[in-house]
Symmetry: C2
Amino acid sequence: MSYFDYKKGQLYCEGIPIKSLAAKFGTPLYVYSTHALTGQFKILTRLFAGQRPLICYSVKANSNLAILKLLIGQGAGLDIVSGGELYRAQKAGCPAKRIVYASVGKTKKEIEEAVRYGILMFNAESLSELRVLDAVAGRLKKKVKVALRFNPDIEPGTHAYITTGKKETKFGLDEYTLQAVYLHPAAYPHLSIEGIHMHIGSQITKAAGFVKAVKKVKTLIARLDRRGISVKTLNIGGGLGIPYDEEENSVVDEVKKQVIPFLKGMKVRLIIEPGRFIAGNSGVMVTRVIYVKDTPHKRFVIVDGAMNDLARPSLYGAYHRIIPVSRNARRTTLDARRVDVVGPVCETGDFLGKNRDLNVTEGEYLCVMSAGAYGFTMSSQYNSRCRAAEVLVNGTNARLIRKRETYKDLITKELV
Amino acid sequence: MSYFDYKKGQLYCEGIPIKSLAAKFGTPLYVYSTHALTGQFKILTRLFAGQRPLICYSVKANSNLAILKLLIGQGAGLDIVSGGELYRAQKAGCPAKRIVYASVGKTKKEIEEAVRYGILMFNAESLSELRVLDAVAGRLKKKVKVALRFNPDIEPGTHAYITTGKKETKFGLDEYTLQAVYLHPAAYPHLSIEGIHMHIGSQITKAAGFVKAVKKVKTLIARLDRRGISVKTLNIGGGLGIPYDEEENSVVDEVKKQVIPFLKGMKVRLIIEPGRFIAGNSGVMVTRVIYVKDTPHKRFVIVDGAMNDLARPSLYGAYHRIIPVSRNARRTTLDARRVDVVGPVCETGDFLGKNRDLNVTEGEYLCVMSAGAYGFTMSSQYNSRCRAAEVLVNGTNARLIRKRETYKDLITKELV
């Protein structure tokens, strides 16, 4: 079920017409649906019901405090990747024992902050990091739990920039290094190395890569087990893809049929780290048409949202569906023209969608779908553009969860 | 002459060792050289001495107020592309009559602000925009000067994302539309349409594209002249490229020999809009090595600067030279290993440089060169990373011109 749907020609988020939100809060505007967020969380709870995993929501997908708080309230833990995300986790009231921390570049300061807060576990990515973790833990007189991030050398079939489980990437430890660490626990006296973590990529729409990776991990755990080393925690990361267009989304079914059976019977505590799966289709970016510009070669629909607001089309060539907020019965699809939807930023790379069949007029609102994950979190002030506002809808209630930036915000850290 | 050079094995910015700046202000850190900025400005002044143009520095390249103020003090005007940049121009004390405003997506509000401030000229990009400009000018009882942005359909030979003078792009008006506007001044009673603007792209290293575009403009101006329409202002935009590696930079010489002759004898006021040419090689990003990670396939140098701090490598595949801040005589180039320099952000796309021959140790500083333009201005808080600090060096004096963000800054606009 979608929480973004037309009623009598008006696009709604839950019980509120998006047009009224745009009029009230201005554009570009991120709008999120409470029930979409919690609904996706519940799908995962059901999918992994047999394993009762700790579901650590991946903060980087959408880190707004209100969204973190909402998911924490549903029982979620958090997957963090920086000191800033730890700070957010604390501010959102996440219990420390529900936080896992992954990143190839945790600084000493960030590690200290996380050890002091008492997070559940670090996902360690290199021998150097293990040494720093051990030193910090020793200094703070703590025993720190660690999972080793395993690089299974798997091709998940997604964009190269978000493929993270290939041996050529910076992520994780290869099988042999990982075993070497497990065989030398005395080298890290202040660490309790008890888990294996993997994360093969993002926006994965076929379970095949997962299956291969989980098989590899299972073999690895069995091999360690034969040497008397028991792996207590298995963190299979995130990466479950979502539909960005009207395609069927079969990944949940595939995971159910192909991945879950492998997990059955494994005596490990399971952790999963969904981000995009929860937030991606739970949010949209609303934008207003500034100009319709016809050139001899193309029609451009120039909107007030740009690559600084939503980087994915420009950065990854990502596809986002773009639909009108108000459907006009008199405008049939026959009137649609092939257009490029572009922003005001002075780069040709600034587009939200190319070659779309749309019939739009100046001043009307458009909705860029599937913008709930890696939308606002990747936004910048490029071209000195104020970052957008964010609104969270719950039924017929809409709450501003991030104020629109003002010109003053652009320069507040500058000293003349 | 370079203002970033080694003395006794230490990399300096003007009279200050970069190491001491990194130690004092932390990393990642943007460091700019006052004399490099003013030196580049002077090169342009000399290059176009015969034309005495208004040099409008392109704010989007590097919009820090201190840098704007410095260039305004040298006599520069500003090329702005948004209301936020107009705000910066005002705060930096730029005289209104030295501001030109280009953008395909100027909103009514932004146009009003600029008309009220009394800027020199709008570079208009569409018929719709002309209508809005005229309406706003009428309402505010002003006569507003306009240059029409001409799309010359020129291939400048740069990255597709920063090619802006091809007919397939969203920018400017084609020749016929442009002439049509000039032939119907009565349609825009509150506008004084008196200039032609062009901008064919960014980081152009060969003059050939410029030459073609200027030829086309010259023909166009002559054609209008025959119909009794005199074009008073010619804005040839920016786009002059800079060397990102140790290659020779011949573009200045080429412009001198190939473009300047075309401009001679043209009875127009010339405007140019350099951005990268002034700021690009006037700044660097200093970053610290967190971990050196050896995998069976590659060595990764993991630094504390990432794609959120400097987007160009990830977004455009741009090359930036990366050099050690301290040269150690004992480390010869023979000891160098082929490495990828990557940041802590959880994406494979997060790299600053690939396959570089470097010999580095954990904790040392590296300098990412040519980061003065499209560096900080494109930075984001992705992965909840605090944005970097910026320092301006003048001789042996270093001044913090933008404070490093804190965790608190990440959430200050959020409402829980």
